[in-house]
């Protein structure tokens, strides 16, 4: 599984200031691998994508997350930072 995370927006509004990483999950240490696989399961991200509560935050990042599963299938998500659980964000920082 390959996870690609890219942000736009933010206080600076410049892509170079944002997050841009591509992680081959199989290269992560096994305990982290398991957590990432569970966190980035398509149904979970789909649910977050639809959970768009009215967002009053500004200067936050918008996330484009692309998950390529082991069957080669590509899943794309567009998520506002405000809908991401803190644990998922911490995991992204750890990956």
């Amino acid at each position: 599984m390959i996870v690609k995370i890219a942000t736009s927006g933010g206080f600076a509004g410049i892509p170079a200031a944002g997050i841009n990483k591509t992680v081959d999950v199989s290269s992560l240490p096994p305990p982290l691998q398991e957590r990432v696989c569970r966190a980035f399961e398509p149904p979970k991200l789909k649910r977050l994508e639809k959970s768009g509560a009215p967002d009053t935050s500004v200067d936050r990042f918008n996330y484009a997350i692309t998950v390529t599963d082991d069957a080669g299938e590509v899943h794309r998500y567009r998520l506002e930072e405000s809908v991401l659980p803190a644990e998922l964000i911490d995991l992204m920082d750890e990956m």
Partner: protein, 367 residues
């Protein structure tokens, strides 16, 4: 009327005070029509310099206390009636908000530079709104000022989440920190916008939200060090870029598009005129990009008028936000609202009214 695309504005060089260095930048980096326009304006700028400076000589006024500003200040309740209550939290490099409480109102400095900068700068911004605009905190009702520092790891951002300020540490490469006063005032001013009816964070209304935050970011700095509009640098995020980045700041209100030019960061993408309005789906429709246009209008107005930008210009912008009542306002709607505010505060043929209309015209917006 104005257009959002193409070069449709009739360029009277006497009316367009685009600094020559910006024209040079444009003639090099911009494509097609824009580069051509820049080159031709550059050719003419020498020719017109004399008349322009004569013109400027007749319109500049010395920075005197403005009658309207005096009245507004006289009517303000004493600042002591407004309650400042700061709460600073340490995010401990995690995403959970607000994090661990580390400093509250009246408690001594912690020695953590980020905590103490968030605490000190929050008061400077609170005082700006309290003393100049008689506003009791961000919501006008004494909202406690909550801020989290050390948010996440190497986090290159600062934001307002609808109820508190959040600051990353920066990665040390692209950003050093996000606690410079103009940044703190920018985030807190997003709170003021939100509690004043809001400006939808998309397209032109989003860029107006951004611009209001930059304008009051600049005003917080200028008032804090006592700089007039002419003396100020009009930079947002001065010194926050990493040591290896070629740039003075994140944005320039005096010369949008020139704050940085760097291999890693690219070129400051801000326009200063409607002819250069950027249509994009990124960044909520370029909210941090097209804010350069109203930013520059505020700068031009402040310089045309002279004196302190937190005087009449700040009062007009603040009054316009309070009376706007239109979260989907376009640049033209906002410009019209500022003209109404200028009329209400200073009168219909006042210098403020005349120079404000002129400033909007100079960025391609007719009011």
């Amino acid at each position: 009327m104005f257009r959002v695309q193409g070069c449709t504005c009739r360029h009277d060089p006497l009316q367009c005070i685009i600094p020559p260095h910006m024209l040079r930048v444009l003639s090099i980096r911009a494509g097609g029509e824009v580069a051509k326009m820049a080159r031709s304006l550059l050719d003419q700028s020498e020719k017109f310099r004399e008349s322009r400076s004569e013109d400027a000589g007749t319109v500049m006024v010395p920075g005197k206390a403005l009658p309207g500003a005096f009245v507004a200040a006289a009517m303000s309740a004493p600042a002591g009636l407004h309650d400042l209550h700061r709460e600073i939290y340490d995010g401990e490099n995690k995403a959970a908000l607000p994090g661990k409480p580390v400093r509250s109102e009246g408690s001594p400095a912690t020695g953590d530079a980020a905590v103490d900068a968030a605490y000190d700068n929050a008061k400077i911004v609170f005082d700006l709104y309290s003393d100049e605009f008689n506003r009791n905190s961000l919501d006008g009702k004494g909202l406690p000022l909550k801020a989290t520092v050390h948010h996440r790891r190497d986090f290159n951002n600062a934001f307002w989440n609808g109820s508190q300020m959040v600051y990353g540490d920066g990665d040390g490469v692209i950003f050093r920190n996000f606690l410079e006063l103009s940044v703190v005032a920018h985030e807190m001013s997003h709170g003021v916008v939100g509690f004043s009816g809001g400006l939808t964070y998309q397209g032109q209304s989003g860029a107006l939200n951004e611009s209001f935050a930059d304008v009051f970011g600049a005003l917080a700095v200028q008032r804090n060090i006592g700089q007039s509009a002419h003396e100020a640098d009009w930079l947002i995020g001065k010194g926050i870029l990493g040591p290896g980045i070629n740039g003075a700041a994140l944005r320039s209100m005096r010369a949008p598009g020139t704050a940085y030019s760097d291999g890693q960061l690219g070129q400051d993408p801000q326009p200063y005129h409607m002819d250069l309005f950027v249509n994009t789906s990124e960044d909520n429709g370029g909210v941090h990009i097209n804010s350069g246009i109203p930013n520059h209008a505020f700068y031009l107005f402040s310089v045309l008028l002279g004196g302190n930008a937190w005087g009449a210009p700040g009062h007009i912008w603040y009054a316009a936000l309070q009376s706007l009542n239109n979260p989907f306002a376009s640049f033209a709607d906002w410009a019209a609202e500022t003209m109404e505010a200028a009329t209400g505060l200073y009168g219909v043929r006042s210098l403020e009214f005349v120079f404000l209309r002129r400033a909007w015209k100079l960025v391609g917006i007719s009011v």
